[in-house]
Symmetry: C2
Subunit: 249 residues, 2 copies
Amino acid sequence: MTTTSAGPEANSDSPGVRHVKRPTPLRESVYEALTEMIIDGTLERGRHLVEVELAGMLGVSRQPVREALQRLNNEGWVDLRPGFGAMVHVPAEDEVDQLLAARAALESESARLAARNPDKDAVAKLKELCKIGAQLQETGDIDGTVRTNAELHSLITEMSGNRFLVDFAGQVDRRVRWYYTPVAPVRGAASWREHTRLVKAIADGDEDKAAQIMREHTEHTRKAYHDLQTGTPTEDSPTPDKKPRRRTT
Amino acid sequence: MTTTSAGPEANSDSPGVRHVKRPTPLRESVYEALTEMIIDGTLERGRHLVEVELAGMLGVSRQPVREALQRLNNEGWVDLRPGFGAMVHVPAEDEVDQLLAARAALESESARLAARNPDKDAVAKLKELCKIGAQLQETGDIDGTVRTNAELHSLITEMSGNRFLVDFAGQVDRRVRWYYTPVAPVRGAASWREHTRLVKAIADGDEDKAAQIMREHTEHTRKAYHDLQTGTPTEDSPTPDKKPRRRTT
DNA sequence: ACTTGGTAGACTGTCTACCAAGTGCCACTT
DNA sequence: AAGTGGCACTTGGTAGACAGTCTACCAAGT
């Protein structure tokens, strides 16, 4: 739902009907610019955002900024306090947990649907991404790894053929990446092995297995994050234990 | 995410700190009014919505209308065409299907989490809703049944304690209700038996069972809708009649 | 008959200016 | 030191203006 009217690549019509680039509404550009700045930390968490200030900063008037801010508010990037202004959202303690739980549901279902209808080309692309990702992982290219990871997950949700899953998962994913990126590199090795297994399950059309793997995959990610928060810097251990484990180290 | 800053009942702070009623932003009221009008058919599907027209109709200026329209666009209620205006969204053929698939994932996970932490009071409330719903169903109060159904589902998602699931499921639910309500009454009887089983599973803390039942429940709903679209399910109906079938009761 | 060109009206996207009301903060008072 | 009052700032909303674009329609040309 978040997608605004017609996205840049929205029309997959018959090949050859390339629509000319339509000038993006300003509010859209402002929205993009602001999310960008929030994610990369230019606008740090908790910062007070003033409309005129942003407007001046971006060289536009208040109107587009207001509209962008409202969308950012709806999507949880900023908190709008009437009469005062917007503040960059400060994630609550349990927020990442909830986000990852939602992601588990959404992406697990996506994986299931993807496995139900495994498109040849898409599967090939998935395999390629796996390979690339593993390589980048080895060479220590963190930025590239994160990007490839995102691409892989995104492609799987798209394979579900369900635009709502795509949209929701996309939203969640961006948020997760925002919170998570600073501590991302920890869980690299195992992650790509899981991806490979996942892609195989999808290629084989094994719905249950694909869904299961994706769920565990997300769950591992959550554990990794949780451990980092509580100060356990070990790699993910084979504990098939579902209770969040507090380590008192 | 969709919730705007602080909703009317948003703050469940320590009891006794009743915040005084803050005047709702106009854009919010406009948003509500428009969704209302879309759902009840005052603004029929495909209709061209003109800002000044709506503004005049609602007695406000363009700005709040614009902001409301943009939110409606983000949530899929209207389609915004740059330079032309907003049209009330016309649901695609497969849209309900996708919506219900997403709902299955979201609410099934919610049920699982609800079962993981079954709050006493909430469970009691659930049971009550089940009873009320079954009664309304028998007396043929369709409107009440639909409302109670929505309340029950909503309460379950809230029990999950996951604000993202609540938000996404809420969005999906409203959309489903819009498309689905005209043909809702068909699936009344069995539905409430399933609800009762579901509530029991939650009360027992049986995660897997609760998730399973909720998934099947949504799946049944989808089948019911699908059958209605393609004609009567059980009997062979060679009549290529595509008009929506009115129930004969 | 079909294309082209032109014209006109409608609406959005954006900007500017302005005002009322609410919020947060600071200095002043007690 | 704590409470109070007031001030500056910010949003929320209104009004009006203007350019660019979209749709439709008509007329002339091929």
